[in-house]
């Protein structure tokens, strides 16, 4: 499940700073945890008194231990990277470029838009059928277990997601891709809503 072995990077050491980033990032994370996050978000300290008056490890015992162990490792990483700069050796170095981030951002926006569609279509459909006098429903919640309202949002949202991603991989969208997107959504609806009971497709488990 990883890249083929031959791909092991060649021009690694001019990007060696990425290992420094990892090291310093870890140190910053450890500091943030120990100074800000843990004190506010963990109910008991490193050690605590239990009911019998004995001292036992508290809820922060293990988190502090883990984060504290990160510190020497990160320091080692930084040191070994500084030393390895001139020659070869040292740890494998990776990097995250701006293009990578732009790509991730694009995927996030696409997913967010699809989720928005999932949430909006159902209520809109009900508004529409109420307007035309086909139904007299009090809202989406009341219809969130009746076909087709319960799966309408998912159908359009999932289709949008699949098609959007195909557009990204291929740089264009063929009419047949729309069919594939819709078919994927339809098959998933058939499995989860048709064949199985008490399974809720998005957004129905969060109303």
């Amino acid at each position: 499940m990883s890249d083929a072995p031959e791909e092991i990077t060649s021009s690694s050491h001019q990007n060696g700073r990425w290992n420094l980033w990892v090291g310093f990032g870890t140190l910053a994370f450890a500091a943030l945890c120990l100074l800000v996050w843990f004190p506010r978000d963990i109910g008991s300290g490193f050690m605590q008194q239990n009911l019998t008056g004995r001292t036992v490890p508290g809820d922060s015992f293990f988190p502090i231990l883990l984060v504290a162990l990160m510190v020497p490792l990160a320091a080692l990483l930084i040191l070994s990277q500084l030393r390895a700069k001139r020659g070869t050796g040292g740890e494998l170095v990776g990097h995250i470029s701006l293009e990578n981030l732009a790509f991730l951002g694009r995927c996030l926006i696409l997913t967010g838009a699809s989720l928005l569609v999932m949430n909006i279509v159902g209520p809109s459909l009900i508004w529409l059928t109420n307007m035309t006098g086909l139904t007299t429903l009090s809202g989406y919640r009341a219809a969130s277990a009746s076909f087709p309202f319960d799966v309408s949002g998912y159908f359009f949202g999932a289709t949008l997601l699949t098609c959007g991603l195909i557009r990204i991989t291929r740089h264009r969208l063929r009419p047949s891709d729309l069919l594939i997107g819709a078919a994927t959504a339809a098959v998933l609806i058939l499995i989860f809503d048709g064949l199985l009971n008490n399974i809720q497709l998005p957004p129905n488990a969060d109303l």
Binding site: N50, L51, T52, S138, R141, A142, A143, S144, A145, N198, Q200, A205, L207
Partner: protein, 312 residues
């Protein structure tokens, strides 16, 4: 005995059709405070199915596990009290857990009905040779190290109270759920532990033995054994399975839901009832309305009193 009378009483009060006015507007979501696959989950899902069959309401069970129902309850309390979001947990969730929680209070909820009760007991491995708490006491005084398996703060406090009552010292082992306590016993990581009901097959198989009941009366599996009260420890760790809703639910909705559940649990053919008879013997425990609310609030106060012992 008491429970059976309870069923009858509640039926007489609530099962009359005059109350069958309220109807949910859309599906009811039943939030089960425990993970999928456990005893609570099975009970909740069977009940959901039978409510659906009896009234034609759509009931969707959802698992929201964590920390003995408190994770579910913390989310439940901010839902609308319109009868379409219900919680299924145990009374401990409401009459003990709020003590250690910033975001739970007993007043945050409407208590609809209980369904079944625990069989809380002190357990030991059969090969320990102990038959009663006195044997345990003797072993401890003889220098044997006692490790007590507990799954939560309340039962750990209970274990400590029992130990103090017996005048012995024990080490407490915190386990993951009631099943974890049994595993710790069987794998010899602990030598005493609590069991709330899951111990049944292991006790019947002769692997574990009941030393005492922690209910107000004896436990069904071994009615010969004394209660903790009998031996001078004033402690009741029994709990019931309970259906709740956010606070402020209109009376008619509460009564309608309560009466449906009472009707199901009173029916000997009911799958839920049969499950309860097998798993939480001898019969369903149905407490509803004001009686239930009073029970929760007064137990909460009693529990606060109990825990004060440890403040010193």
């Amino acid at each position: 005995m008491k429970s059976i009378i309870m069923v009858g009483a509640s039926l007489a009060i609530f099962a009359s059709p005059a109350f069958a006015e309220w109807k949910p507007d859309g599906p009811i979501r039943l939030w089960i405070g425990y993970g999928a696959g456990g005893g609570t989950d099975v009970q909740g899902r069977t009940l959901a199915k039978e409510i659906e069959a009896l009234r034609g309401w759509k009931v969707i069970p959802e698992n929201k596990a964590g920390d003995d129902g408190t994770v579910m309850s913390a989310q439940l309390k901010s839902e609308a009290p319109d009868g379409q979001t219900l919680g299924f947990a145990i009374t401990t969730t409401y009459d003990f857990a709020p003590m250690n929680s910033d975001n739970l209070a007993p007043e945050d909820f409407t208590y609809i009905t209980t369904t079944a009760g625990s069989q809380m007991a002190v357990l030991a491995r059969a090969d320990s040779g102990w038959n009663t708490l006195e044997d345990l006491q003797a072993a401890a005084n003889g220098g044997e190290q006692i490790v007590w398996a507990n799954w939560g703060t309340q039962v750990e406090a209970g274990a400590e109270l029992v130990a103090r009552g017996l005048g012995i010292s024990v080490n407490h082992l915190r386990t993951e759920g009631g099943k974890g306590a049994l595993n710790a016993l069987v794998s010899m990581d602990a030598n005493v532990g609590w069991g709330g009901g899951v111990q049944k097959p292991l006790v019947e198989a002769g692997v574990l033995k009941i030393l005492a009941s922690a209910e107000t009366g004896p436990v069904a599996l071994d009615p010969e054994k004394p209660t903790l009260k009998d031996i001078g420890v004033d402690l009741n760790l029994g709990y019931q399975y309970i259906i709740t809703a956010p606070a402020g639910m209109p009376e008619e909705i509460r009564e309608e839901i309560a009466s449906v559940v009472a009707e199901i649990l009173a029916n000997p053919e009911s799958e839920t009832r049969q499950f309860i008879e097998k798993q939480y013997p001898p019969a369903p425990i149905v407490t509803q309305g004001e009686a239930l609310r009073t029970q929760i609030l007064s137990t909460y106060d009693a529990n606060i009193e109990m825990m004060k012992v440890f403040d010193k």
